[in-house]
């Protein structure tokens, strides 16, 4: 069976970092509830429609308090993934055959559907550790490490955070730094950018290679380094109103490609993929496909503002983020949560999130035969232009023994368009952009002693 992976499987530094920067610091506590140990655990199901990615995971955060607000946090999570994902090829009115990334076999997709790679199964384990403590009366420091591993990707990172209070603690300045080093070992080897997808080859027994087949046009394993910086100002406005503003800078260097994503080479008039004949005696790709290529650096800037407003027991959480990067992607995110508490300690919290992004400047739906070759090109839908919204509901309650539980169900939809100026010939009749429909379901249990 082929081993094809969605980039979603790979936890990159940015995700781990942002998690760390976001979770750094003291878990908030009421005066009556200070406990030595606090556990925050969650079971998550994420499932996309149409046989696409499904993820089941368990996550936990354990915090141990020491004297005078010193806190050790240990995070653990395990994910099991399965399902299919768009491989980047463009649909057309015939069937298409692709070689799996491992190079062991092929898979064929139906006419007039956006090609999805075959099923895959993978698991991922991630660990984080963080130490937070006061530094003098008005400052805090936290330091942490993170690591994760899966079949074709490992991540290792470190982070540091500092805060300083001013104006009788009404104003807080914060600074966070994170670095990480990720190692990418694609199944079947790293394809040379823009090299053609070839034939399935005989599997060789090779102990060193861990059953990986060396296909032609493969490079060695790859590496990515990421540097993140967050600078923030938090300001108490009134007794019931809090505001935070953050500026984030992120610089990724190294191998930024998705090694499993391809682009179709299409005819300049019809827009249909150009046929290819595998070598005699071999199965393989039956059209011309090229592996993608992205720049080896990406610099992102984010501007984020959040406010929390208390209104007679109800809490409104409203945030906005603007992101811009040197791949020419701009995005806007608006997120709103409104918590309604009930008398018995339970609450109800609806949630809406709106998102929109522009396409990367090298986003291409296909490569056109006979035209000037591009330096960079990718048809990964995550770099395209789309709108998305999330709508969800959370219900939380306290158990008889004072533990907290909650359930959350959300619906996530992505709706994108291929750039009109890239559509050629028969492509105009087809659904070119893989819209996404997904359900998020989470059960959470918090307890302490």
């Amino acid at each position: 069976m082929g081993k094809v992976k969605d980039k979603s499987v790979a936890i990159s530094l940015a995700a781990a970092t942002c998690t760390l920067l976001g979770t750094a610091g003291v878990s908030p506590v009421q005066a009556q509830e200070e406990s030595k140990w606090d556990f925050n655990t969650a079971l998550l199901y994420y499932g996309e429609a149409d046989g696409r990615v499904q993820d089941g995971s368990f996550k936990s955060l354990a915090q141990r308090r020491f004297v005078d607000d010193r806190i050790l946090s240990i995070g653990f999570s395990v994910d099991a993934l399965t399902g299919a994902t768009p491989n980047g090829a463009i649909p057309y009115d015939g069937s298409q055959t692709f070689t799996t990334p491992s190079g062991n076999s092929t898979y064929t997709t139906q006419p007039d559907v956006i090609p999805l790679d075959g099923s895959f199964r993978d698991s991922r384990v991630a660990l984080t550790a963080n130490w937070a403590q006061p530094l003098g009366r008005l400052s805090t420091i936290n330091v942490g490490l993170s690591g994760s591993g899966e079949y074709d990707y490992t991540h290792f990172g470190a982070n540091l955070g500092l805060t300083r209070d001013f104006n009788k603690r009404n104003t807080t300045l914060s600074l966070g730094l994170a670095v990480a080093r990720d190692d990418i070992n694609p199944v079947g080897g790293t394809p040379v950018p823009f090299s053609p997808m070839g034939d399935a080859v005989e599997r060789e027994d090779d102990e060193d290679d861990d059953n990986r087949v060396r296909q032609p046009n493969r490079m060695s394993d790859q590496r990515k380094d990421v540097y993140d910086l967050v600078f923030g100002v938090t300001q108490v406005i009134t007794r019931n109103l809090l505001f935070q503003f953050n500026y984030s800078y992120s610089d990724s260097k190294g191998y930024l490609n998705d090694p499993y994503k391809i682009l179709s080479l299409v005819d300049a008039t019809t827009g249909d993929p150009i046929p290819r004949t595998p070598e005699p005696g071999f199965d393989g790709a039956d059209h011309e496909y090229r592996y993608e290529n992205r720049p080896d650096e990406r610099v992102k800037h984010s501007f984020y503002g959040q406010t929390k407003i208390f209104m007679s027991g109800k809490v409104l959480d409203l945030s906005y983020r603007y992101m811009t990067d040197d791949w020419n992607i701009d995005s806007h995110t608006v997120d709103m949560r409104y918590r309604f508490p009930f008398n018995n300690g339970s609450y109800f919290e609806p949630h809406i999130r709106l998102y929109t992004q522009t396409a990367a400047e090298f986003y291409r739906i296909s490569l056109v035969d006979g035209t000037q070759p591009f330096t960079f090109a990718s048809s990964d839908y995550r770099l395209g232009e789309f709108d998305a919204f999330t709508v969800g509901m959370k219900y939380g309650w306290k158990t008889r023994f004072g533990k907290e539980m909650s359930i959350r169900v959300e619906y996530y939809k992505q709706d994108g368009d291929a750039p009109a100026d890239q559509i050629i010939g028969n492509q105009a009749d087809r659904e070119l952009y893989p819209d996404l429909d997904a359900i998020i379901a989470q059960f959470s249990y918090k307890f302490g002693f």
Partner: protein, 75 residues
């Protein structure tokens, strides 16, 4: 965005925060509401991490959140 522009922006932001914000806020004993769990900037770090990871995997943007500030302001 050039490095110089970013540095200037951050410096101005710090100056504004320290001077302009010095008149805003509450007395130390008026932080009962801000001390509530539901008034923290990140109410549930595990949930925030889950969402960050989902959206990072499916979109081109990530993160943005910060840490620190708000709360009871004790000690």
């Amino acid at each position: 965005m050039s490095r110089a522009k970013i540095t200037t922006a951050i410096t101005l932001l710090i100056a504004a925060a320290l001077s302009g914000c010095s008149s805003m806020g509450v007395e130390p004993w008026e932080r009962d509401v801000l001390a509530k769990e539901e008034m923290q900037l990140i109410t549930d770090p595990v949930e925030a991490g889950i969402d960050d990871h989902i959206y990072f995997s499916k979109e081109a943007s990530s993160g943005g959140r910060g840490f620190g500030g708000g709360g009871c302001g004790c000690n």
